[in-house]
């Protein structure tokens, strides 16, 4: 229990130690809780997309198969970029807890660059697929594949924009309870996308390679 409370940013020893910066105001605590619940709904949204993919993944209609489409180097690099970005995002949150503004800005910038790298690789993969005729109008498998992975990609794009806006606020206003909450929440979102990617990596890519 103690460790979980700490992970949630609440005091480890029953309140004698100060709250983490993003939890100091009741209003910010409420918003963080609201965001956790939003993530739950987003998880169900992805759950439905995964279910659709699992139903339709064998419906290739004589078109491109997962084995011909998926390129280990490509999705391996995407995975590496995104997983590392989640780590650097975590470092940004930790620096924020220590009140080191420059360090927060640095790690957030690294996270943004890694996010853009991920998006770049994904875009070039998609472009390559389209080039060889694997477009989402081709078969139900491709429709569900591009929609699932593309929805994740859209989330990452939005996350990059959001992180840029948050970075601007940290640089402009410093680390206040309010900006700290924003840093914390955008990183929650980022970690969530990382979790979704791990499922895409396993359910879509790895299973697709051995199918």
């Amino acid at each position: 229990m103690a460790t979980r409370a700490h992970a949630m940013g609440e005091p480890r020893d029953g309140g004698t130690r100060a709250l983490a910066l993003e939890y100091t105001h009741a209003e910010d605590r409420t918003r963080i809780l609201g965001f956790w619940i939003f993530l739950a709904t987003d998880m169900i949204l992805f759950g439905c997309l995964f279910a659709t993919y699992l139903v339709l993944r064998t419906h290739m209609d004589g078109g491109p198969t997962p084995a011909t489409l998926f390129d280990m180097k490509g999705f391996g690099a995407e995975t590496l970029a995104l997983l590392t970005s989640s780590f650097t995002g975590g470092l940004a949150t930790l620096s924020m807890r220590d009140g080191r503004q420059k360090s927060v800005a640095f790690w957030m910038s690294v996270t943004i660059v890694l996010g853009l790298t991920f998006l770049g690789i994904e875009a070039s993969e998609f472009a390559h697929d389209a080039f060889i005729g694997a477009v989402w109008q081709r078969s139900a498998f491709l429709s569900s594949f591009f929609t699932l992975v593309g929805t994740h990609g859209c989330h990452v794009t939005f996350g990059v924009l959001w992180m840029l806006v948050t970075l601007y606020q940290v640089l402009r206003r410093g680390l206040t309870p309010r900006t700290a909450r924003k840093v914390f929440v955008v990183n929650l979102y980022w970690h969530f996308l990382d979790v979704v990617w791990i499922f895409i990596f396993t359910v879509v890519y790895l299973t697709g390679m051995v199918m």
Binding site: R29, T30, R31, L33, G34, I37, F38, A40, T41, D42, I44, L45, G47, C48, L49, A51, T52, V55, L56, H59, M60, D61, G63, W136, Q137, R138, S139, A140, F141, S143, S144, T147, L161, W162, V165, T166, Q169, K182
Partner: protein
């Protein structure tokens, strides 16, 4: 030029389709002119903008939801009467098949998504913060966004009738019928986009009220002391959060099929239409519990108040609410037993569906036991509650028949089913919403609705209901299928159909009496000067009617389950009544136009998607992003109501 206009008029305004469209156009123009003229003449534009459009006050947002729900009840009701007029006699040609299809589609969609949903949200907004002793919901700004997304979603859906054509594939919109090849034109796109817009708002509302109830309760309000309406909202929100994302996905994928040429639910290239039906009902069945649970909450409040007794079996009431919210997620396949999933799958869903009857039965008995030896007052809310019980029990019993999978092969898509779900949705949800509206009306507006005309409406409606729907059970067993637009004279269905139509008109008449009742009561309704016109039990009745913007001058301390009752009769008043010296400055959110603009931007983007005019879509979404950016960079979104102002205001109300 003229030919260009004629082409536009025929293609988009459908002027070649005859008087139904012309009359609607004329009525819309008249209504808009009347509204604009009235606002201009009474110089109310500024008032409308400042007090309503830019508000983040939960009470005003609730009232706006209520007005929309009543308007949509009218629209959906007119659809119903058009259908019943068409079916009154065999072989009629009052409507052609195409118009009939459009009308049953809009009737169902509007009644569920644009009538029942805003009606429950009206009560969520008006009641929950007051019942738990809070100043507002957890996220007032998000609350306003939810409302405007709903509003513009409803608007988008409704304009389809006169601009481009209504959806016409049923409120469930099953593919492959709804795929582009079989159903061209913008109608289905309207359905898909409009519902998704308001659906996003609904998810936000679910988050908002869940967090509100988890975090904003007054000190001392432990889970054991939370009023039952608030508990029902909590259960409903949990179901919203679990179910609505599935609807978002189902509609988005079907929209992709239609505008991007994908193959999720097509019959070609490996698509699977049954996947849509599963996704739709994974949302669709929980959806009916989303709207019925708050109605259960209303009945619990009303029964306790008007029996002058604490609710019987509070804990079992809470447990049954939560149990229903869990089971609601495990029954969806009973909507398509005939899909052929196999005996094992059908058995699971049949048993799960029947299980819902157990917690629901617990609730029915608890309401009856609450009334037992109570001092019952037959006010309007109580009348609707009393009428609900036999009505809903009958609907529940026929539901058990439908849940038996082998029997369902006989009832499936017949009028037996139509009668069943109207009995649960009208007899359960609409009765509950009307009871809630009558019950909390004085809290919203400071006067009661007239009892006498209310009783006329009550009897007209109830008699009309049974005359309308009981024959439909028989018609279903006699083989009449839903969605047929006409029938031959030799089927033996004539008398029952005519009776059903007469009943529908009685209900329509009852609606008109309710409208008259509201207009009459604005002038002549009994004023509520105490804030507690019903001798209520929960905290909202401790406040003046209508409630001041800041709700509670001092947040009360809760020491009992029925806190206001305890204050009045058990000497706990000092925990509830504000003392002048305790009043502090209160922070409330500033008024803001941005939620309205976000809704409008989504509307523009959605309109672009419907007609595949992507420039509009890009403009709309860019505008949404701008609004989000401005919100992110906003430094100060609160204003202060000074303690002195509050003290003065409370003094004029005679409270300090």
């Amino acid at each position: 030029m003229t030919s260009g206009f004629l082409q536009f008029a025929n293609h988009y305004l459908m002027w070649n389709e005859g008087p139904l469209i012309w009359i609607s156009d004329a009525l819309i123009v008249l209504a808009v002119v009347a509204i604009v003229a009235t606002l201009t003449y009474t110089k109310r534009w500024g008032w409308l903008w400042r007090e309503w459009i830019t508000t983040t006050d939960h009470k005003r947002i609730g009232i706006m939801y209520l007005i929309c729900a009543l308007l949509m009840l009218f629209r959906g009701g007119v659809d119903a009467l058009l259908m019943r007029t068409q079916l009154a006699f065999p072989g009629e040609h009052f409507l052609n098949a195409e118009h009939y299809d459009q009308i049953f589609t809009t009737h169902g969609t509007i009644m569920i998504l644009f009538m029942a949903m805003p009606f429950i949200f009206a009560l969520f907004n008006i009641v929950v913060p007051l019942q738990i002793g809070a100043r507002d919901v957890a996220f007032p700004y998000l609350n306003a966004i939810s409302f405007w997304l709903f509003f513009f979603g409803a608007l988008l859906f409704n304009i389809s009738f006169v601009f481009g054509g209504s959806p016409d594939a049923g409120w469930v919109s099953y593919p492959p019928l709804t795929e582009l090849g079989y159903d061209p034109g913008p109608g289905e796109n309207y359905y898909l986009v409009a519902i998704n817009l308001s659906g996003i708002g609904t998810i936000a509302t679910g988050i908002n009220f869940l967090v509100t109830i988890l975090r904003m309760r007054a000190p001392g309000m432990t889970w054991n002391r939370v009023p039952l309406f608030t508990w029902s909202v909590l259960a409903s929100c949990i179901v919203i959060l679990a179910a609505f994302p599935a609807l978002t996905v189902a509609l988005a994928l079907l929209l992709l099929d239609r505008i991007a040429g994908t193959h999720f639910f097509t019959v070609l290239h490996g698509g699977n239409p049954m996947m849509f039906i599963n996704l739709f009902w994974v949302w669709g069945h929980p959806e009916v519990y989303i709207v019925i649970l708050p109605a259960f909450g209303v009945y619990s409040e009303v029964v306790a108040t008007f029996s002058r007794k604490a609710i019987f079996g509070y804990k079992s009431m809470v447990a049954s609410l939560l149990l229903i919210s869990v089971i609601s997620y495990l029954v969806w396949a009973h909507h398509f037993f005939t899909m052929g999933a196999g005996a094992d799958v059908n058995t699971f869903f049949a048993i799960a569906s029947m299980c819902v009857g157990i917690p629901t039965g617990v609730k029915i008995f608890n309401w009856l036991f609450t009334m037992y030896r109570g001092r019952i007052r037959l006010t309007l809310p109580m009348l609707w509650t009393l009428a609900f019980i036999p009505n809903f029990v009958t609907g529940g019993a026929t539901g058990i028949l439908l849940a038996a999978a082998p029997e369902d092969y006989q009832y499936h898509n017949s009028y037996f089913l139509i009668a069943h779900f109207h009995q649960t949705l009208i007899g359960g949800v609409v009765y509950g919403m009307l009871a809630g509206m009558y019950y909390w009306w004085p809290k919203m507006f400071g006067f009661k609705l007239d009892e006498k005309s209310g009783k006329i409406a009550f009897w007209l409606w109830n008699i009309g209901f049974y005359v309308c729907f009981m024959p439909q059970y028989a018609l279903g067993l006699m083989g009449m299928q839903r969605r047929m637009y006409t029938y031959p004279a030799n089927m033996g269905w004539n008398t029952l159909n005519l009776a059903s139509t007469i009943g529908a008109y009685l209900m329509g008449l009852a609606f008109l009496v309710i409208v008259w009742q509201i207009l009459y009561s604005i002038r002549h309704g009994e004023r509520d000067v105490t804030g507690d016109p019903w001798d209520g039990r929960t905290l909202e009745w401790s406040l003046p009617s209508p409630v001041p913007e800041y709700n509670f001058a001092v947040i009360p301390t809760v020491t009992a389950r029925d806190m206001w009752w305890a204050a009045k009769y058990e000497g706990q008043m000092e925990h509830v009544r504000p003392r002048a010296e305790d009043i502090r400055d209160i922070h409330v959110p500033k008024h803001t136009a941005r939620p309205f603009l976000i809704g409008l931007s989504f509307f523009i983007a959605g309109f672009g998607l419907v007609f595949e005019w992507y420039v509009l879509t890009a403009v709309g979404f860019a505008s949404v992003l701008c609004c989000l950016l401005l919100r992110a960079l906003e430094e100060d979104d609160e204003m202060v109501i000074a303690a002195d102002t509050i003290r003065q205001h409370e003094a004029t109300l005679g409270r300090v």
